[in-house]
Amino acid sequence: MAHFDPNARPFSHKWLNERLAIDTLEKVLAKEYWIPKNINFLWAMGMVLATTFGLLLISGIFLLMYYIPDTKQAFDSVNHTIMQEVGYGWLWRHIHGVAASIVFLIIYIHMFTGIYYGSYKRGRELIWLSGMLLFVTFSAEAFAGYVLPWGQMSYWAGMVITNLFEGFSSDFLGGHLHFPGLVEWIRGNYVPSQAFLGRFFMLHVVLLPLVIIGLIVLHFGALRIPHVNNQDGEEIDFEAEAEKWKAGLRKESKVIPFKPVFLSKDVFVLGIYLTFFFYLVFYHFEFAMDPVNFDPANPLKTPPHIYPEWYFLWSYEVLRAFPKNPGLIAFGFAQVIFFLLPFLDRSPNVAPANRRGLFKIWFWVLLIDMVGLTILGKLPPVGIYTPFGKAFAYIFIALWLILPFITKAEKPIGGK
């Protein structure tokens, strides 16, 4: 049993320290959590994401007080009760809607930062993998949330996406991979209806947020031992550099403590981001709140264009570029391939892409290809857009197939 000072005033520093070790906690998590000095604002995206998730959580809690998961009342509970009758309900909804869209922009920036600087390499594989799990869970969370207002796009997107679970066509491989029953099982009916709405409501407000919170803890935890990467991919002896810092050699040390030095930059980046974010919330929210979804769900009227939210468009285009069966395979490929990045990249070099020969070209082609797929994913598949979509989808797959070969052939940097 530890020693507890009988004279310590309840809730005083000493009292808390004896019971919770708050000094040690602060040291481990903040004051002596070392971050390389050689970083840029892209290293603040983790904090930006955590804050955006916080905004989603808080605004979501407020929305949850008034939202009614009933196919007859859901639409009006959102568009009338929340948007017009509850004080500042509109603000919570706009924050929730805009954050749900922008969070994916930041996730993509965060991902491409990791790819560019090689932050998924040996020692950091679990950071990458837990991050990818977060991406997938966020995607499921976003889809489930999109269903809830029960507008036209909620309904028809729900219809189209759940249809994917039918699997391959019945004439493919003897029909063993054809599961028409699965679609009905997921929906709880032949078409999206009350059971479907209830399930996705549960997923959106309980199960998936819990999984996300757990994964965020894992993602942060995975970061603690390998430490964050830096702009040059330099391998830093964190213990030695930390000693320098503690000795007062602030200029010579290659590291800074998380609190307060790194945090000060994080908060500054956060300030810029939130200014932009709230500009969107008040003045430019249509991109995140599709007008089509302000028409109530109507099972008898298919909208002329059905498309997912922008952040799913690239994989949707990969699906759409092919006929049904190969399309599903390509879609599955697109969903899992990013997970394999640490193992497909065979080069030991941890360095920015622009110093990595062919990988530099690979990185920029991948980025442009995904931007292209995203734009084509929204456009109707007519005329010139169809062959372009096909070409971009083929390029996407080809890029991942050649990745092991070009990285294997990569020259080691710095005699490693």
Binding site: D76, G271, L274, W310
Partner: protein, 353 residues
């Protein structure tokens, strides 16, 4: 500055994606319809018909078998005749519009209208209630008190001359020729103008011009009027008066749906579901967006449309004024926050590099 260069790259790709999936994609997905500033002279009708002709010609060129080709040819003839008709019709309307109407004569002439329409402003009651009227005509004929203020005079001339032609729909309950001679029509229009109120509220504009076909549940509006305040029986919770009203609305809606082919949508938040340009051009000429729709052109003036739009916004986006009031404060706060954060950052990173 390296960080600014990185930021420029991030902004460039973000902007490119935004441009692609928003303005560009929407310009491709949605048909562009040119507005006519609520001038009713048949020009927009001809545009719609010509577009249809082009479409048929295209399908004729790509048709392979004789049967489809022949059907398309017949279709083409039909539309070419329609174009001829439309031109002649609007030339006739121009002639009526050029006549000087006499309101005093119009007062006598309008008695012909009172067989179906009420005119409260002139003390003429509607011959039947809304529900009974809908049984006969499919829709409740409007009270004409506000007509002179809401509808464009040239449109009124066209509508009275031949309602289906004026409203640019296949069928409409009111028959053609009810207005009598050209001078008679001009007199009726002059009379309607003379009795119309000087000032019409946005709510009145909506209810008169749209509200007999479109409900608006967020404003408690039904096609037969505002939902009355009723009280349930305190012992049973049953609200018989309320149920009776609901039954009437249901019957009216069934009649309306039979007349139009479907129930016109509730317009509670149409202001968020469609762009302003879409709403304006759609109201001006529904066929330009939804060819074949049963919705008649209602012929509102530009001012009346603005009023309707104001009401749609009041009901469908009532938090807009608050949004606009709170926005600058939040942004101001964030800017000050960012400046302070910058100063903190600079002080922490001083002498580090």
């Amino acid at each position: 500055m390296k960080e600014l260069k990185i930021l420029a790259v991030v902004i460039f790709f973000t902007g490119l994606v935004y441009w692609g999936v928003e303005p560009y994609a929407h310009s491709v997905m949605h048909k562009h319809v040119e507005g006519h500033n609520f001038v009713y002279d048949g020009k927009s009708d001809l545009e719609v018909l010509n577009e249809k002709v082009e479409e048929i010609k295209k399908s004729m060129a790509s048709a392979t078998d004789e049967k489809t080709k022949k059907a398309a040819e017949e279709e083409l003839k039909k539309y070419e005749n329609k174009i001829k008709d439309t031109k002649a019709f609007w030339a006739h309307v121009e002639k009526i519009a050029a006549l000087k109407g006499n309101a005093a004569n119009g007062k006598n002439a309008i008695s012909a209208c009172a067989g179906c329409h009420g005119i409260k402003a002139a003390g003429i009651k509607a011959p039947t209630d809304a529900l009974t009227a809908s049984k006969t005509y499919g829709v409740n004929p409007p009270d004409l008190s506000n007509a002179g203020a809401l509808y464009d005079p040239k449109f009124l001339a066209a509508f009275i001359l031949d309602p289906a032609h004026g409203a640019f729909v296949k069928k409409i309950a009111m028959p053609a020729g009810m207005g009598g001679s050209d001078q008679n029509i001009a007199d009726i229009i002059a009379y309607l103008k003379s009795i119309a109120p000087k000032e019409i509220t946005p709510k009145q504009a909506f209810e008169s011009a749209c509200g007999r076909c479109h409900a608006m549940r967020y404003a408690k509006w039904t096609q037969i009027g505002t939902v009355p305040k009723t009280k349930p029986n305190i012992k049973t919770g049953q609200d018989i008066e309320g149920l009776k009203f609901k039954e009437k609305v249901a019957e009216y809606q069934n009649n309306l749906a039979k007349y139009l082919g479907k129930l016109p949508p509730d317009l509670s938040i149409i202001i968020r579901a469609r762009s302003e340009h879409y709403l304006a051009t759609f109201v001006e000429n529904p066929q330009s967006h939804l060819f074949g729709t049963a919705m008649p052109r209602v012929g509102v003036t530009k001012e009346a449309f603005e009023k309707v739009k104001t009401y749609l916004e009041e009901v469908g986006d009532s938090s807009k004024p608050k949004r606009e009031a709170v926005g600058p404060w939040v942004l101001g706060f964030m800017i000050i926050f960012t400046i302070l954060a910058y100063l903190w950052y600079k002080s922490q990173w001083k002498g580090l590099k």
